[in-house]
C-alpha cells in the first residue's frame, strides 16, 4: 500500500549538513500497526514527514495507494495537499488542537475540509468521539481537557476521515506513561476493530511493545525490521 524505496534526505544548515535519512526502504501494508523506533535524532520525524507528504526526500521513491509521489512535486503542490487531505491522518506529539474550537469542532474541521454534508459530518464526528471515549465531552475546549483527552481528540481528528494511514510522531511523548499507554491501547483497538493502518514513532520501550512490527532506525538507516507479537 505504501512503498518507500531508498529515501535520502540531507539537511544543509550553513556549513554543516546532517544526513537525516541515508537510504531507507520500507513497505507498509494495509492494517499494519507499525512502530518506527530509535533514539532522538535517528530520523524518525523526517521519515514520517516524508511518508505523510509534508516533506519531500532528496532522492528515492514513495508511492501511496498506487500514486507515485515524486520529490519534484514540492509539499505545497496541489496533488500532495489533496493526498494529505483525503488519505493521511496526523497525530502530533503536542496534540496541536485549535484552542478556540471545542473537541467536536476540532474533529469536525477535518471533515469540513472534505466538503461533506453537515449531517454526515455530525454523524461521523459524534461516532468517532464516542469511539475514542470522549462521549459527553464534545463541547469542551482543549483547555478543559486533560493531556490524554486532548490526544484522544487528536486521534479522533486523524481517524474521522477514514484515512489510508494514521501517522503519529511520538504520540505519547507529552503524556505520562499511564496516559500514554491508554492512547496506545486506544490506537491498537481501533487498528484491530476497524483495520486502520497506524505508523507511530517512539523511543519508549513500553510503546514499542505495542507494535505488531518494529522498525529500528539508527542514524538515518533501518537497523532492524521485525514482525512481532504485540502485547
Amino acid at each position: 500500500m505504501i512503498n518507500v524505496t531508498d529515501i535520502h534526505k540531507e539537511y544543509i544548515d550553513g556549513e554543516t549538513s546532517v544526513r537525516a535519512l541515508r537510504g531507507v526502504s520500507l513497505h507498509i501494508a494495509k492494517g499494519e500497526f507499525l512502530s518506527i523506533a530509535g533514539p532522538s535524532g535517528s530520523g524518525k520525524t523526517t521519515l514520517l514527514n516524508v511518508i505523510g507528504c509534508i516533506d519531500t526526500a532528496d532522492s528515492g521513491g514513495l508511492s501511496i495507494d498506487g500514486d507515485r509521489i515524486n520529490g519534484a512535486h514540492g509539499v505545497s503542490s496541489r496533488a500532495l495537499i489533496e493526498i494529505r487531505r483525503a488519505k493521511i491522518g496526523f497525530v502530533f506529539q503536542s496534540f496541536n488542537l485549535i484552542p478556540v474550537l471545542t473537541a467536536y469542532e476540532n474533529v469536525a474541521m477535518a471533515l469540513s475540509l472534505l466538503g461533506l454534508a453537515e449531517s454526515e459530518i455530525r454523524e461521523r464526528t459524534t461516532k468517532i468521539l464516542t469511539e475514542v471515549g470522549l462521549a459527553g465531552m464534545e463541547d469542551r475546549r482543549p483547555a478543559k481537557l486533560s493531556g490524554g483527552q486532548q490526544q484522544r481528540v487528536a486521534v479522533a481528528r486523524a481517524l474521522v476521515k477514514d484515512p489510508l494511514i494514521v501517522l503519529a510522531d511520538e504520540p505519547t511523548a507529552n503524556l505520562d506513561s499511564e496516559t500514554g499507554e491508554a492512547i496506545l491501547k486506544l490506537m491498537k483497538s481501533i487498528n484491530q476493530r476497524i483495520g486502520t493502518t497506524f505508523v507511530f514513532s517512539t523511543h519508549d520501550q513500553m510503546v514499542m511493545d505495542y507494535a505488531d512490527r518494529l522498525c529500528r532506525l539508527h542514524d538515518g538507516l533501518i537497523e532492524s525490521d521485525e514482525v512481532r507479537r504485540s502485547a
Binding site: 514527514n49 509539499v75 483525503a86 478556540v100 474550537l101 469536525a108 469540513s112 464534545e138 486523524a158
Partner: protein, 464 residues
C-alpha cells in the same frame, strides 16, 4: 454567524466557507484585548473620517447657500464678458435696458433684482473726533424693493434699518463698521468715478448695519439705493447685473429654461447653450457642465448659471477635498499599520497551528481566507464602532456645528462661511467608510499570511 456560541451544543460546524467564517469568528475572540485595540484604532479612523466628510459636505453646502443668498442668486444676467472682469467693477460692460428684461421676467413670475456694482473709497466721519476712517470697498446700488426677492441682505440687518428707495442711505456690515469706527447715523463720504470716468463724491448716512454669514460680502461690501447710485454714477438706467432667484432646493440645480423662454418671448435673445457663440473669446471654461451660459448676440446680454459664477469657489473646495484626501490617506495608513501588525502577531503566534492545518490538508487559499475573514472581522467591528461614534459626531455637528470664527479672524481669504459650519448627514458615505475599513483590513491580512505560507509545513510544525 454567531461569534460566541461555543456553549450551545446544538450548533455544529458546517462545510466549506462557513467553517472558515466560523473559525475566523472564533479566532477573533482569542485575543480580545488585541482585537479591541485594533478595532478601536479603526473605529477612531472611521469616526474621524465620517465626521470630516460630514463637515466638508456641510462646508460646501453652506458655501453654496451663502453664494446664492448674498452674491449671485440662482443665476444672473450681465453684459457680455462682465463676469470675467467683475473684480475690476467695469462700468462699460452693462445691461443698458434692464427695464425690458425685468418686465419680461416679471411677466413670467421670475424673481429678479438689478444691481449696479462699483468700487469706491468710503470715508467715515466720526463727528466729534478729528480722525477719519476710510477703506476701498465694493459698493452696490440695489433696488430695496426687488433685491430681497433674490438676496437676503434685508434679513441680515441687525442694527438700524434696511434701505428705502431714493434715500441717501448706506448699509454697512458690522465687520466694516467696527473697523472703521462707524455707527448707524454716521455721515459718510464716498469717492468714486462715474460711468464715464469722472470723479464723483457722494454724501450718504449710514442707516443700517448688516451681518451675513458670508464673510466675503461682509468684509468689503456696502449697499445703497439703486437710484442714488444711478444718478451719482450717471448710469442712465443701465445696471451691471440682474440677479435671479429660481425655484431650487440646492443652489446650482435650477432649470434656466424658463428664463430663456421668458426673455425670448419679450424679444430679448440669448445665444443658444453650448458656448459656441459668434465671439470665440466667449468660449470660456465652464467647470462641470458645458452650456452653462448663454451669450446675448443682439443685446450683448448673457445668462450666467450658478455653477459658472461660482467656479472659483468650487475650485477652492476641490483643494479642500484634496486636503481631505490626504487625511484619509493618513488614516488609512494608521489602519493598515495597526491591522497588519495585529495580523502579523496572530499569524506568528499560531504558526504551529497553521502548520497543523496545512498538514491535515487545508489549502493555502483556505488559510488565506481564514485570516482575511478574521482581519475583516476586526475591520467590521472597528467600522461598526466607528460608525456609531461617527454618527454621534455627525449628530453633534449637524445640530451645533463647529465655530471657526476665532480661527478665521485674521485670515485673508475668500471663504464663504461664517464662524459656524454644520455637518451634513450622508449615510452612504458613512456606510462606505465602514465597509471600506473592513475590506482594507481583510486585504492587509494577506501580507503576513503570505509570509507564513512561504515557510514549509515542517518548519511551521517545529515552532515553539
Amino acid at each position: 454567524m454567531p461569534v460566541q456560541d461555543d456553549l450551545q451544543p446544538k450548533r455544529r460546524p458546517h462545510a466549506g466557507p462557513r467553517m472558515l467564517i466560523r473559525l475566523a469568528a472564533k479566532n477573533l475572540t482569542r485575543y480580545r484585548r488585541r482585537t479591541m485595540i485594533t478595532a478601536s484604532a479603526i473605529a477612531f479612523g472611521v469616526a474621524i473620517f465620517v465626521a470630516m466628510a460630514s463637515l466638508l459636505e456641510g462646508l460646501i453646502a453652506e458655501g453654496d447657500r451663502n453664494l446664492a443668498n448674498y452674491e449671485t442668486g440662482s443665476a444672473a444676467l450681465t453684459g457680455q464678458g462682465y463676469w470675467d472682469e467683475r473684480e475690476q467693477y467695469p462700468l462699460d460692460i452693462l445691461i443698458e435696458d434692464p427695464a425690458s428684461i425685468l418686465d419680461a421676467l416679471d411677466a413670467a413670475d421670475i424673481a429678479a433684482a438689478p444691481r449696479v456694482g462699483f468700487r469706491g473709497e468710503l470715508i467715515v466721519h466720526y463727528d466729534p473726533y478729528p480722525e477719519d476712517g476710510s477703506a476701498h470697498l465694493s459698493m452696490y446700488g440695489i433696488n430695496p424693493e426687488r433685491d430681497p426677492r433674490v438676496f437676503r441682505i434685508d434679513e441680515a440687518v441687525t442694527e438700524g434699518r434696511y434701505l428705502e428707495a431714493d434715500e441717501h442711505g448706506l448699509l454697512i456690515s458690522r465687520w466694516l463698521a467696527e473697523r472703521l469706527g462707524a455707527e448707524v447715523g454716521f455721515p459718510v463720504t464716498i469717492t468714486t468715478r462715474t460711468r464715464d470716468g469722472f470723479h464723483q463724491i457722494m454724501d450718504l448716512d449710514i442707516v443700517g448695519i448688516y451681518e451675513t454669514p458670508n464673510p466675503t460680502v461682509d468684509r468689503r461690501t456696502v449697499f445703497m439705493p439703486l437710484e442714488i447710485a444711478d444718478s451719482y454714477l450717471e448710469m442712465q438706467g443701465a445696471v451691471t447685473a440682474v440677479h435671479l432667484a429660481l425655484p431650487e432646493a440646492v443652489p446650482g440645480t435650477a432649470d434656466l429654461e424658463p428664463v430663456r423662454a421668458a426673455l425670448a418671448q419679450a424679444g430679448i435673445t440669448l445665444e443658444p447653450a453650448g458656448g459656441d457663440g459668434p465671439d470665440p473669446d466667449n468660449n470660456r471654461d465652464v467647470p462641470g457642465e458645458s452650456g452653462a451660459q448663454d451669450h446675448g448676440a443682439a443685446t450683448g446680454v448673457e445668462l450666467l448659471s450658478f455653477d459658472y459664477m461660482t467656479a472659483e469657489f468650487a475650485a477652492a473646495m476641490e483643494l479642500q477635498e484634496a486636503a481631505f484626501g490626504v487625511i484619509l490617506f493618513l488614516l488609512g495608513v494608521i489602519a493598515i499599520v495597526g491591522i497588519s501588525n495585529t495580523m502579523l502577531m496572530a499569524v506568528l503566534e499560531r504558526e504551529r497551528e497553521i502548520g497543523m492545518m496545512r498538514a491535515i490538508g487545508m489549502r493555502d487559499g483556505e488559510i488565506r481566507s481564514m485570516f482575511v475573514l478574521e482581519a475583516a472581522g476586526i475591520g467590521l467591528l472597528g467600522g461598526a464602532i466607528g460608525l456609531l461614534i461617527g454618527a454621534g459626531l455627525v449628530g453633534y455637528l449637524a445640530t451645533y456645528g463647529i465655530d471657526y470664527s476665532a480661527m478665521l479672524e485674521g485670515v485673508e481669504m475668500d471663504f464663504r462661511f461664517d464662524g459656524v459650519v454644520y455637518g451634513v448627514w450622508n449615510p452612504e458615505t458613512m456606510l462606505t467608510t465602514a465597509i471600506g475599513a473592513a475590506a482594507l483590513a481583510g486585504v492587509v491580512a494577506l501580507i503576513p499570511v503570505r509570509r507564513i505560507l512561504k515557510r514549509s509545513v515542517t518548519e511551521s510544525l517545529r515552532q515553539h
